[in-house]
Symmetry: C2
Subunit: 113 residues, 2 copies
DNA sequence: TGATCATATTCCGATATAGGAAAACGTCAA
DNA sequence: TTGACGTTTTCCTATATCGGAATATGATCA
C-alpha cells in the first residue's frame, strides 16, 4: 500500500507547504489561478493542481467569473486539525517538565558515580 | 520530485492516521512497541516503523528499559500545527456566512427570473 | 466562426511511501 | 556461550505523489 492520497483528508492536503501557502494567501480574499501562481512563484499548472487537491478536500471553493475562476477559502476543514492538535495542548507544556526532570536526574546520577 | 518525506515535518508525519493514533495512545504514558502494536491492532514491524518516523520528527522519545524500549510523547512539535491552523479560526466561522449569503443570493436571483 | 485569454489536464520522470514477511540486531538470564 | 525475548531493519510490491513541458479544454468577444 502506498501513502494515502493527498485528497483523502485535510491532514494530507496540508502536508504540502505550497498548499499551506495557498491557503494563507486566500485569507486575503478570492483569487484567480494566475494570481496565486504569480504571487507564490509557482507555475500555472502547479497552482492549478494544488488548487484541485484543496478543492477535492473542500478547503477551497471555486466560482466562475467570466474567463476566470476565482478560488476562495473554505477553512472549515481545518478545524478538525486544529482540534486534534489542541488535544495535546497540555502535553507540550506540563508533560515535558517531567521529561526534563528525568533527564536531569540521569545526569545527576551520572555525576555521582 | 516526489512527495515530501514523512520525516520532513510534523505536518507530514501526522498525515498518517495510524501515527495519529499512536500519538493519542501515548498520551496515557510511555509504552513499549509491542503494546502499541497490540492496542492499535497493527504488526510489530509496522508499529516500529511508524514510531521511527515519529521519532525522526521529534514527536516521540525513546529510552531503553531492559529489553524493552519505552516510547514517550513529545508533543511540542504539534504546537506549530495547532498554531498554523489557528490562524484560520475566524475564517471557519465568519467568512462563511458571506459565502452562504452569496449562494442564497444566487438562488434567489434564479427564482426571480 | 475564429482568435485569444485563463485554466485544466495529460505525459513523463524520479522518488517515497505503507504494509507483509523474513531476517538481523540487542539485551538480559542461566 | 547459548537461548529467548523484544525490537529494528531489510526486501519486496503496488501506488501516489510533485514538478515541468506540452497539450487540451473553456469562455469571451469581435
Amino acid at each position: 500500500m502506498a501513502r494515502a492520497a493527498t485528497t483523502s483528508d485535510a491532514f494530507n492536503a496540508i502536508a504540502e507547504p505550497q498548499r499551506r501557502d495557498i491557503l494563507v494567501l486566500l485569507r486575503t480574499g478570492e483569487r484567480p489561478v494566475t494570481d496565486v501562481a504569480q504571487v507564490l512563484g509557482m507555475s500555472q499548472s502547479q497552482a492549478s493542481k494544488h488548487l484541485r487537491v484543496l478543492r477535492e478536500v473542500g478547503l477551497v471553493r471555486v466560482r466562475g467569473a467570466g474567463k476566470q475562476r476565482l478560488y476562495g477559502l473554505d477553512a472549515r476543514g481545518l478545524r478538525p486539525v486544529h482540534e486534534w492538535t489542541g488535544g495535546f495542548e497540555r502535553f507540550w507544556n506540563e508533560r515535558f517538565d517531567r521529561l526534563d526532570a528525568y533527564v536531569q536526574d540521569l545526569e545527576q546520577a551520572r555525576q555521582e558515580e
